[in-house]
Amino acid sequence: MSKIYIVEDDRSIREELAELLRNSGYEAECLTDFANSRAEVLGANADLILMDINIPNLNGEQLLKEIRKETDTPVIMVTSRTSETDEVLSMSYGADDYITKPYNPTILLLRISAVLKRSAAAVSVQTYNGLQVNDAKGSLSDGSREMTLTKNEMIIFRFMLDRKGSIVTRDELMTALWDNDEFVNDNALTVNISRLRSKLAELGCEDAIETRKKQGYILR
């Protein structure tokens, strides 16, 4: 389980954020003592740091600079500052991503998992029920047969695979697709899911995707 460290001085956001991350299967820890922010952050030994810019004492940009002297832990800046200057500055100090408040929580989660994946040793082949998932080729294979997925189907499948066994809403799937520059509408999503289903069925995984009425889908 990846540990995410939250540097955020607004109590309400901090708590909700921690809850969001815990619900999504991460371990979340928050910075509370802003007087020793540098030591606290470094001591937490996190896999990823979410950092606000407007925080007491050292501001986020300075803190990031300090942290970068010691460690390469991925940092995502999360801030309400919307000028290009802040983004350019943060990126030059070594931030891995920059998200402005308010943000769509699903996007935040997508970005977190993208950054974590990038920082982890690249595992490009994953398995699902004995099927090999090949990201680079965009295909599934069971050793003998290989089935190519379209870009949209791959995005949907990957997203569901990361959340295997729990409900994935249509809204989340839409967000994942749009985040990958596939601006599809509702009907297209339905079509993509039914195609993905039949492709999985052809590879011997019947009923892999279960529909939960009014809630979403589960990959079993």
Binding site: S80, P102, P105, D181, A188
Partner: protein, 338 residues
């Protein structure tokens, strides 16, 4: 300064001179002064008069002609006193000193207003950052706690976010300070961010977005461009035709000297009479009257921001068919080298 006008202005002086000449003649005759002497006195008087008036006329003409010429050529006319030499005649000097004092007072007045405007803008910037915190907090709460209402909350929250951004960018666009960075910006990422921000609304009206050729980069401020495209997209999603699936098409074209970004929808369009005025401040037009709530500020801010960034923006439309905005980004090899 024309001679005739000057003479007319000096009418009283000539009248008095004529009366005194008349009186003099009267006394000279009364004292039985000889005709030759009288004539000599009159000639001397006349010569004196002419000499005095000519000198006076040219002295003033030099100063005032200079002033008028400079006034015509000057684009900030209130700076005129900086361009003039202090004249060598009394009434001119008084006026010149008056100019200086008036100008100083005006500068103080203007800078007082500028300070107020700057303070206000700073406050708005700060306020917008502050208001985004509770919005972010609410968005997380909506996501964490309400399942059914969550989506609806998200949509309303993104509306609030949109309106606050409008305030922020209005304050920024009206300000003379340069608070943007022009750098190479990938169109793909910018468009993706904009689409993402409007996803809830787009999904509610079943809109789809098509893109083409967005692999290009342009020289602009990414955040400002995001706002500009966000406004265009919000309009496209607002002015849709009922019964027709909204399609927004964003495409880029690479020309030798510039990049064109086209933003086209298949919505209600803008009628021909309104088209030239859509970028005017507070202009709502026919669409603004037919559809609920239109402030007439969105496109005005868009145009303002484009002007500040040095992009040109044009609109083409046909009623009930389409609206297409084209933004043109200049290419500059100089920036690329840096």
């Amino acid at each position: 300064m024309k001679l005739w006008d000057y003479l007319k202005d000096r009418l009283w002086f000539f009248l008095i001179a004529a009366i005194s000449l008349g009186l003099m003649l009267l006394f000279l005759t009364a004292f039985r002064v000889s005709g030759q002497l009288t004539a000599t006195i009159c000639v001397i008087f006349g010569l004196f008069l002419i000499a005095e008036e000519t000198a006076g006329f040219f002295r003033k003409k030099r100063f005032y002609d200079d002033m008028q010429g400079k006034l015509d050529g000057l684009d900030k006319k209130y700076l005129i006193h900086e361009m003039l030499k202090r004249p060598d005649f009394l009434d001119g000097q008084i006026m010149y000193d008056g100019f200086c004092i008036a100008n100083k007072s005006m500068c103080e007045n203007v800078s007082a207003y500028k300070r107020t405007a700057d303070d206000f803008r700073e406050f708005i910037e700060m306020w917008v950052h502050e208001i985004k915190l509770p919005v972010a907090s609410l968005q997380l709460m909506a996501h964490n706690h309400c399942d059914e209402l969550g989506e609806k909350f998200q949509e309303q929250l993104s509306r609030i976010d949109g309106y606050t951004d409008q305030v922020l960018y209005y304050a920024r666009s009206e300000n003379a300070e340069k608070d943007y960075i022009i750098k190479e910006t990938a169109l793909k990422r910018t468009v993706a961010n904009v689409a993402m921000k409007n996803r809830e609304t787009a999904q509610l009206c079943g809109a789809s977005i098509e893109t083409e050729g967005l692999g290009l980069s342009v020289m602009t401020d990414g955040k400002w461009l995001e706002f500009i495209l966000g406004q265009l997209m919000a309009n496209s999603l607002k002015y849709t035709v009922e019964g027709r699936e909204p399609v927004i098409r964003i495409s880029a074209e690479d020309l030798p000297d510039r990049v064109l970004l086209r933003f086209r929808d298949n919505g209600t369009g803008i009628c021909e009479a309104d088209l030239p005025r859509i970028f005017d401040k507070s202009f709502t037009g026919e669409n603004g009257r037919t559809y609920a709530k239109s402030t007439g500020m969105g496109l005005y801010i868009v145009k303002n921001l484009c002007d500040r960034l040095g992009h040109s923006i044009t609109a083409a439309s046909e009623k009930d068919k389409y609206t297409e905005f084209t933004i043109s980004f200049a290419k500059n090899q100089f920036y690329k080298m840096i």
